[in-house]
């Protein structure tokens, strides 16, 4: 039994967006959807978290921040791109300052399109991310504690 699948702590970052998805993420924590049922805790600290939720696209200004936060998360970890902006840049994609989706900067494990994403979809993505976390943990175990190859993003 992988405990990490029962206790995914999330860290939420809002990139360049209209804040719609951002609000939906927080809606998941409310009594209506209550993601704490799955053991999810919204931490304010990347060092404590397992799942990195990103809403909004990446621009030149927040690129180093996203990288720094990603590097400060301990393995095993999963990145979820929430909303079309985060997956591809959406209608901001052509802007002069936008680099595109989250995967232009850090590896993404789960993509959830939508504008804005429904809370149900976000919950579903978190549940999928838990399974990926479990796999990553297993891989880490067999590698003798070594970091998975993709982790070494360096700025």
């Amino acid at each position: 039994m992988a405990f990490i699948e029962k206790s995914p702590w999330i860290f939420h970052f809002d990139g360049s967006s209209c804040n719609g998805c951002d609000i939906e993420v927080l809606a998941c924590l409310t009594p209506m959807y209550d993601v704490e049922r799955f053991g999810v805790i919204n931490t304010g600290n990347p060092k404590h978290s397992d799942i990195f939720l990103i809403t909004g696209s990446i621009n030149n200004q927040n690129k180093p921040v996203v990288e720094a936060i990603y590097n400060q998360m301990g393995d095993p970890k999963v990145v979820i791109a929430i909303g079309t902006c985060a997956t591809s840049g959406h209608f901001f994609a052509e802007c002069y300052n936008i680099l595109g989706g989250v995967d232009t900067t850090i590896p993404v494990d789960v993509y959830i399109p939508g504008c804005a994403v429904r809370p149900e979809a976000i919950i579903d993505s978190v549940v999928q991310a838990m399974a990926i976390l479990g796999e990553k943990r297993k891989k880490r175990k067999t590698n003798g504690g070594a970091l998975p190859a993709e982790a070494g993003i360096k700025t």
Binding site: N45, Q61, G145
Partner: protein
């Protein structure tokens, strides 16, 4: 008896020699040899003279008494001599000298002061004091040799009179040993005033405007204590018919309460309790060793020592309760004000006032357990405080600052020195080190006496915890690889390491100190029970052994930068500002100036303590 006479008189020899020989290397050897001899003699005294009963020694020759009178006169002249620099508006300082010495010498010469047949004595309290003065004092003296060398390199404007500074230290030892071994209050008075003179010489050493000002402030405040002491002598010889301290303490309480209160007043004055706290704070202008000496092993300890001696009379009297309250007030105020201070030495000074207040509190309560706690406090405070002062002095010489904020990350720059400081701070407040053992003993002692004292001790202790802990936190912040800066610390290490080891060792040996030295004085105490020793032992073991783990290289650690909201740049002390340029971040401790403002608290405590002082003498009639 030979040990006592040696300890009292021997320090005069190096004092004279140091004045005669100007060569620095000769002075160094004089200091080293003399310190070693005093140390050995103090230990010798401890080995031979401990016992359940105090030993009294008679001196038949009347020459000695005449010498003391002559000494008084010389001292009076010396005081008047130093007053020559004063402007007329300080006219009352020479007046204080003239009044007290005039009265005492007149009484002495006209034969109104009864003779004391056994003017010297030794008991376990004297032995403990002798050990503190001998060992801590001599380590400080050794430190001074190294310190003064750097001091004069840094302050070329200060005239180099280090010989006289060292001589003053040895004169101090002479006076201190005189105080703790004398049984006649006229003799104690003589030695008492020598310590005043010595502290004046030390404080005025830098010869700056500020130094003179602070030295004269210390002088008049301490002379007030001297005045009280001289009045005690006059009253005792007129009304009680004796100046034999032992006989005074055995008399009926109502008969001797007034002279004893006067002596306590002098003691609190010397121990820098409120309202006299200002002189100790001003004493910081002098070179660090003098602060270390005044704060830890001599001077202020003379004050609390004399109060402890008086405590059998104070016990269960209304005035004694007020004495305890003055101590309690100083404890609370000193600890609270220390929170708002950034200057390392000032924090130490206020914490000294606080800790001595706690000892006075115990003396005022006067029960056996309280006295137990007081003696433990004296021992542990002397060690840890001397260590702290010397360490801060060295840090100041190395970095040019004694601001606590500038000590940020000191452990990365000067690991060894920081470790000695950490031992000192831990010794001041962390269980199971000395001060906490003592505080525990105080609480056990106070809990049965009255519901007033325990809250004072508890609140003061919590305040103390706060300012020591935040200082400690500053020191141990790891700022990453930094240039090592422990250069040119020579002979000072002897004192620093010696005191650090002693701080830990005394804690381990406290049951022995208890069994052999304190128990014969004040009887059995609950903190000597098997269980208590066991608990302290376990905690001390953990405290000493666990830090060794810092040397283990842990595997599987993943290094990351500190969290800065993702705005990290390559330097961990900078972050990316909103305009895309790297900016410095820094963290400062809380000083809570609004809550614990020095100005308000100091003024309040002055008013409160003066009122209590008045009350103390009014209550005497009850």
């Amino acid at each position: 008896m030979s040990w006592i006479i040696f300890l009292i008189l021997f320090p005069l020899a190096p004092a004279v020699l140091l004045l005669l020989f100007r060569s620095v290397s000769v002075q160094k050897w004089i200091v080293l040899v003399a310190s070693a001899l005093i140390c050995v003699a103090a230990i010798g005294l401890a080995v031979t003279c401990t016992g359940a009963q105090p030993k009294y020694f008679s001196i038949t020759s009347s020459v000695v008494n005449k010498l003391v009178i002559a000494g008084d006169i010389i001292l009076a002249l010396a005081f008047l001599f130093v007053c020559r620099r004063l402007s007329l508006k300080w006219y009352w300082i020479p007046l204080l000298v003239i009044v007290q010495y005039g009265a005492v010498v007149f009484y002495d010469l006209s034969g109104r002061v009864p003779a004391v047949t056994q003017p010297l004595f030794v008991d376990n309290l004297s032995v403990i004091m002798a050990l503190i003065i001998g060992i801590v004092g001599c380590l400080i003296t050794v430190y001074t040799v190294g310190y003064m060398k750097h001091y004069h390199e840094e302050h070329p404007d200060v005239p180099d009179r280090r010989g006289s500074f060292l001589a003053a230290i040895f004169l101090f030892f002479f006076a201190m040993y005189g105080i703790i071994f004398s049984n006649s209050i006229t003799w104690i008075y003589f030695f008492w005033e020598i310590t005043t003179l010595c502290s004046f010489i030390m404080i005025s050493y830098p010869r700056t405007e500020e130094a003179w000002h602070n030295a004269f402030r210390a002088l008049w405040m301490l002379l007030l204590g001297g005045l009280a002491f001289s009045m005690a002598i006059l009253y005792a010889s007129d009304s009680c018919g004796t100046v034999d301290f032992r006989h005074l303490l055995q008399m009926n309480k109502s008969a001797v309460l007034l002279p004893i209160l006067l002596i306590c007043f002098a003691g609190m004055n010397k121990a820098a309790q409120f309202p006299f706290a200002k002189w100790l704070l001003g004493a910081m202008v002098a070179p660090t060793p003098s602060s270390a000496l005044l704060h830890s092993s001599t001077m202020v300890k003379a004050g609390v020592y004399i109060c402890l001696r008086c405590s059998p009379i104070l016990e269960n009297t209304a005035s004694g309760a007020v004495v305890a309250l003055i101590g309690g007030l100083s404890f609370l105020a000193g600890s609270a004000i220390a929170i708002s201070q950034r200057d390392g030495k000032k924090v130490l000074a206020y914490s000294t006032i606080g800790n001595l207040g706690l000892i006075i509190l115990c003396a005022g309560v006067g029960s056996h357990w309280a006295l137990w706690a007081a003696v433990l406090l004296i021992i542990f405070h002397a060690l840890a405080k001397a260590l702290m002062f010397l360490a801060v002095g060295t840090v100041e010489q190395q970095t040019g600052s004694r601001d606590i904020e500038d000590m940020h990350g000191l452990i990365s720059r000067m690991p060894l020195l920081t470790i000695t400081m950490l031992v000192g701070i831990a010794g001041m407040f962390l269980a199971p080190f000395g001060m906490l053992i003592s505080k525990w003993a105080v609480l056990e002692a106070m809990a049965i006496r009255s519901p007033i004292y325990p809250p004072i001790v508890i609140f003061g202790g919590s305040l103390m915890l706060f300012f020591w802990a935040k200082w400690m936190g500053k020191l141990i912040a790891v700022v990453g690889p930094a240039p090592q800066r422990e250069r040119g610390i020579g002979i000072e290490w002897t004192a620093l390491f010696g005191l650090a080891v002693l701080t830990v060792l005394t804690c381990a040996l406290y049951p022995f100190v208890g069994y052999y030295l304190i128990q014969p004085l004040y009887g059995q105490d609950p903190i000597l029970s098997q269980g208590s020793i066991c608990m302290v032992g376990i905690m001390l073991g953990l405290m000493v052994l666990l830090p060794l783990g810092f040397f283990i290289h842990w595997k599987n650690l993943v290094h990351v930068e500190p969290y800065l909201s993702g705005a990290n740049v390559s330097d961990p002390h900078q972050f990316m500002g909103s305009l895309g340029n790297a900016r410095q971040w820094s963290f400062r401790n809380y000083y809570m100036g609004k809550f614990f403002s020095e100005e308000k608290l100091f003024r309040g405590s002055l008013v409160g303590s003066i009122a209590l002082m008045v009350l103390m003498f009014v209550m005497e009639k009850l």
